[in-house]
């Protein structure tokens, strides 16, 4: 589906932007957060943590929408997100989601 213009009510919607916090040394490297992040914000860090696992790494800063799925699916309480700001909806965002 493509939009030919920005929806008229775009001003009343916004995109939450989350800031991810990773407590690296708690991670046991299960990969749940990386796999199930709806925006694929995370990837495996190349380095080991203290326990010898690869914790997640934020690759696309600013693309976390603070859905906090990673937070509730993490078995180790090693990741959480906090709301940083609300971003106004732009034509690019609409286009971006439409492509998905």
């Amino acid at each position: 589906m493509k939009f030919w213009r920005l929806p008229l009510d775009a001003g009343s919607h916004s995109i939450p932007i989350g800031e991810l916090h990773i407590i690296k040394d708690r991670c046991k490297g299960c990969g749940f957060c990386i796999e199930f992040c709806p925006n694929q914000v995370l990837k495996e860090a190349p380095e080991f943590n203290k326990k010898g696992y690869h914790p997640p790494l934020v690759t696309k800063q600013g693309e976390c929408v603070n859905c906090n799925l990673c937070e509730i699916i993490c078995p180790e309480f090693a990741i959480y997100s906090v709301l940083k700001e609300h971003k106004e909806l732009t034509a690019e965002d609409i286009a971006g989601y439409s492509e998905k």
Partner: protein
């Protein structure tokens, strides 16, 4: 007889406090966890941490304060849940979490009592207690983490192990039929029956919050990966592979007849909220039909 005791090493609180992870408090949910108890004992890829996490989030959503919450668990990997929560928690004997919790719930009807235990604990050794507590409609929130095997003892057959699945005590494949837990719970009289997998974390948080608001015997089955005891011998792979399997093979059917919710080794997993009904709890009926007869009116 003369007794020569071994010397006693006294309890050293400072030494114990030193064991508290320096990272304790970094996560906003750490206030729900007992200081010094994380990291937990569960394997990488195990689903139990997810269930613990979703329970905390469900509790937050329900608005019930931790001072009014009690968790009782049995023995096994899931039994360890109680030890991590920063509230009144009771880690009882194998299979006996439900009757122990029944005592607490009847003694303190104002408290919210959740029973956390595994499929083996609740349905093999504790099966009788489960059906009777459901029949009586004791006000308990039962969360059964089903990983299809006995994890703590190294992956033996459980009453939930699907036919043909391999465990250390079914080396040629399981020849026994398994329990369909939602059907069993529903037939026994549970007033709320749902099943989710650990992949459905968000639905699970909602379901836990929903049951915490219900007065009665509620049942949530959480299908969870056990990469060591179940995933590996059955060639499903890692915990993550099991999670992906749930994602790809789960069918959400709210209101489905629990009779149709059987789980097989490689089949689809029906998930959803299967039933909810209202009926008086044991305590309510006891109050109304028995205690009221002897209650002195004020003044």
């Amino acid at each position: 007889m003369k007794i020569r005791y071994q010397p006693i090493v006294p309890f050293n609180r400072e030494a114990v406090d030193r064991l508290i992870d320096e990272q304790h408090g970094l996560h906003p949910d750490d206030q729900y966890l007992k200081p010094g108890r994380i990291p937990h004992i569960w394997c990488p890829g195990c689903g139990l941490g997810v269930v613990l996490n979703t329970y905390i989030n469900g509790l937050k959503m329900s608005g019930i304060p931790i001072d009014r919450s009690v968790v009782v668990s049995g023995i096994g990997c899931t039994g360890r849940v109680a030890g991590y929560l920063n509230m009144d928690t009771y880690h009882t004997t194998h299979g006996r979490a439900i009757p122990f919790a029944t005592g607490i719930s009847l003694a303190r009807p104002d408290l919210s009592v959740t029973v956390f235990s595994g499929d083996g604990d609740l349905f093999a050794i504790g099966g009788n207690h489960f059906i009777h507590a459901a029949r009586r409609n004791i006000n308990l929130k039962v969360i059964c983490v089903n990983n299809f095997n006995y994890g703590m003892t190294g992956g033996q057959v459980a009453p939930t192990t699907p036919v043909t699945a391999r465990t250390t005590t079914t080396p040629y494949g399981n020849a026994e039929a398994s329990f369909n837990l939602p059907y069993l719970a529903h037939a026994s009289g549970a007033v709320y029956v749902a099943r989710w997998t650990t992949f459905h974390a968000r639905q699970l948080v909602n379901a836990i919050a929903e049951t915490l608001a219900i007065n009665g015997f509620t049942f949530i089955e959480v299908i969870a990966p056990c990469p060591i005891g179940y995933g590996r011998p059955n060639k499903i792979g890692s915990g993550l592979d099991e999670m992906i399997y749930y994602k790809e093979n789960s069918v959400v059917r709210n209101g489905a007849d629990p009779r149709e919710a059987d789980v097989s080794l490689r089949g689809k997993i029906v998930v959803g909220k299967f039933s909810e009904e209202k009926r008086p709890t044991f305590r309510e009926d006891y109050e109304e039909k028995v205690l009221k007869k002897f209650r002195r009116t004020e003044g």
